[in-house]
Amino acid sequence: MSTSMKIGYYPGCSAKGSSLDYELSSSEVCRILGIVSSEIDEWNCCGSTPAHAVSTELSAALCTRNLVQATKQGADIVMTPCPSCLSNLRHARERMQNPEFKKRVDELLDEPAPEVLPEATSVMQMIGKLCSAEDIKSHVRQSLAGIRIAPYYGCLMSRPAELMNFGDPENPTLMEELLAACGADSVLDFPLKTECCGASAGIPHRPLTSVNSGRILDVAVKMEADCICVCCPLCQMNLDLRQKQAERQVNAKFGIPVLYYTQLMGLAFGCDPKTLGLNKLIVSADRIVDRIRALNTARKEAQGGNAA
């Protein structure tokens, strides 16, 4: 994997806290796939939902500072694992093209932002762009075949469609493509893949999250998924950390592990579950790990038997 493009890495705050495992697994997967990036110096919080809920200008100022930092260290493009951060960075970049808006934001910054800011993209799109299915396949040590995976993107990754450029906003398929390259053949056509999980409302208004997350978990369990595969720290938190709250809300038992797609890819690449941060999950993913191993062993034996 070689590219002349310099990638600035924007982890987002949750990568240093609640989604440590996301950061661990995505950096591991990127390392294996040969995607080189350097963390943006002195990056700051993008402001998340609260900033734009309060003021788009404040939100844009916080994001613009990060993009400017990236430019200063020579990045051509900024990559982040978090859809919420990505959405904010992209919104900011787009709004800054409006001269009046830019003027108002520049007033908030230490110095006016340059006319051209680098583009932002997700780790997932970067993998999809730089690595072909063949590239990914070549790293697979343990196929994900046989694991019933419910792919879940959440609402931010693909919306708004013009801005995020992530395929059909109702039915994105990039995650499925990456998983398929890792041998996954039982990825479900998950109908709620872009429905909102309740987002950050979990803290101030718990039912808002538990009702929405509960529905997603409920359908995934009914569809007999082994696990849910996510790409957003907030979704992961709502579906995993708050799974018990959701169970109480909809009066059901789920117990379904919620993994980042990078964790599943890492497992397929044969990484140690610990380096992927699997021990950080609230609902244990041990049975997924075991099942992948068992299925692969069984297949190997079956093949060996045939060969003999």
């Binding site: 109702e170 109908p191 359908v219 009914k222």
Partner: protein, 653 residues
Amino acid sequence: MRIGVFVCHCGSNIAGTVDCKAAAESALSLPDVVYATDLMYSCAEPGQAAIEKAIHDYALTGVVVASCSPRMHEPTFRRTVERAGLNRYMFEMANIREHVSWIGKDKVANTNKACELIAMAVAKLRNDRPLHSQSFDVTKKVLIIGGGIAGIQAALDCADGGIPVILVEREPTIGGKMAKLDKTFPTVDCSACILGPKMVDVAQHPNITLYACSEVEDITGYVGNFDVTIRKKTTYVDWDKCTGCGACTEKCPSKNVPDRFNENVGLTTAINIPFPQAIPKRASINPDYCRKLTTGKCGICAKICPTKAIDYERKDELINVKVGSVIAATGYDLMDWTVYEEYGGGRYPDVITSLQYERLLNASGPTGGHIKRPSDGKEPKRIVFIQCVGSRDKSIGRPLCSGFCCMYTAKQAVLTKDHIPDSQSYVFYMDIRAAGKLYDEFTRRAVEEYGTEYIRGRVSKIYPDGNGQLIVCGSDTLLGQRVEVPCDLVVLAVGINASKGASHLAEKLRISYDQYGFFLEGHPKLRPVETNTAGVFLAGVCQGTKDIPSSVAQGSAAAAKVLSLFARDKLENDPQIAHVNAARCVACGKCIRCCPFGAIREEEFRGQLKAKVIDTVCQGCGLCTATCPQGAIQLSHATDNEILAEVNQLCQF
């Protein structure tokens, strides 16, 4: 030249924002203008009489009327001046209504503009020459494209009127969409029962020649004399021999063929007859699935056929016919609703179109008239109908209302209750559009007598709950609450487009079409059946959304247009065509190269080659005039000098 100028008030339509009297007075200063006045309504009888009188009183040789658009009343005033003894082309119009009085309120600017437009018209008129039509023969035969209910009605009416009809149908049977329907609203009578006899009439009428499985390949010519090439697509069956006995369909081993007639719910055989009442009742082979044609091994149908009609080598045939008029009745197709990913994008088997549901209701359909849902064949108990799928949706570029969905959805809800008494239907709607005779009464019956639940709101999402049910997420905007309906089957009232390929046909017919492929009528109110191409008429949904009674009415209307066109033995051509000034022609052939109609040819004239226009073929576009460097070929009534006169009148340094 002696020119009279008449400035029309059009009541207050023009006079409200244009000083018509001043405009008329200013015209008097123009060269050759000997008389100018303003009139209250120039198109009304007193107005026309005033023009005629002025022509006599002032010995006028040309007339300018400043009023509405020439697209509206040019023919009216041409007849007026003709009655007064002038050549009808010694007349010009200045459009001071649509282009002046209606688009601005500044009276000074408007009056000035009106004066200038009048001056331009006078300048052009001074270059006009009298023109005379030539008459030519008419082929009294009509081509009808499309054998749905509109085409059938038009064919029968023309044929009864004594006109030979060529009816071309793309599918193996006529009947169109109506043949697929179970019942029709608001009377809930059987569609096949009322359509069937008409289809039989078509087959038996001595004046009708039916070409099924055929398409129009090419059309050239002009009103009265069109040359049509029809491609008769091969069915691999000699239809002269086939009796429609159906023996082949019983024995055909290729049984997993998507059934087009049944909207791909259910399967059929590679050789098949679409449905029992098909006209013509003939078998045809689907070459994509026929084992003989795909693998070379089989040939069972050929062996079994009692009349030896099967011929695997059979090729398409091209048939040439000459007709005097064309009726397009090509109908519609459903839009591709799979763009609605939030409704599953076609991936959920139990989310179907209303036309598919119609086949499930139909006794001759794939389920024998028992409603069984596609996924598992179970009888659905809770059915959700969603209206306006692909209609009234700007976000996918389809702001149109498809017109008849409200009504058939009510009908399907009623029929559902008839078929499955313990079922419950829910209809998500935005507005109920039931403006026909007995229509609103019908939708009320669906609610009041059949217990259909109408919920006012669009549906945001459909998803399978993992337990074999679908969850429909909508909202009840009247209540102000979200609504979720767990159900067994979802029926989408999918919006319509003009039938596939309509735009290609339009280009062959040289008629216009809109973004959905619907053909453009001559005038939205006053010429709904005509097109801008003389001799080409429209019937049915190809012109815009319509229900069955309206389609039948337009079919008859189109037939009436054909009959009145053919009531004359000779037609007159439009003299506004190109003419070659042989003296100036250097035979460079540029006009011949670019004429879109092949209306110019090279002819020897006094030992020299010259271009020559074929009067009846020339359509009067003037491309040749713009191409000829010597100005040797001039389009009558839009000559270089006439246009230059307008330019020079307007632009004087």
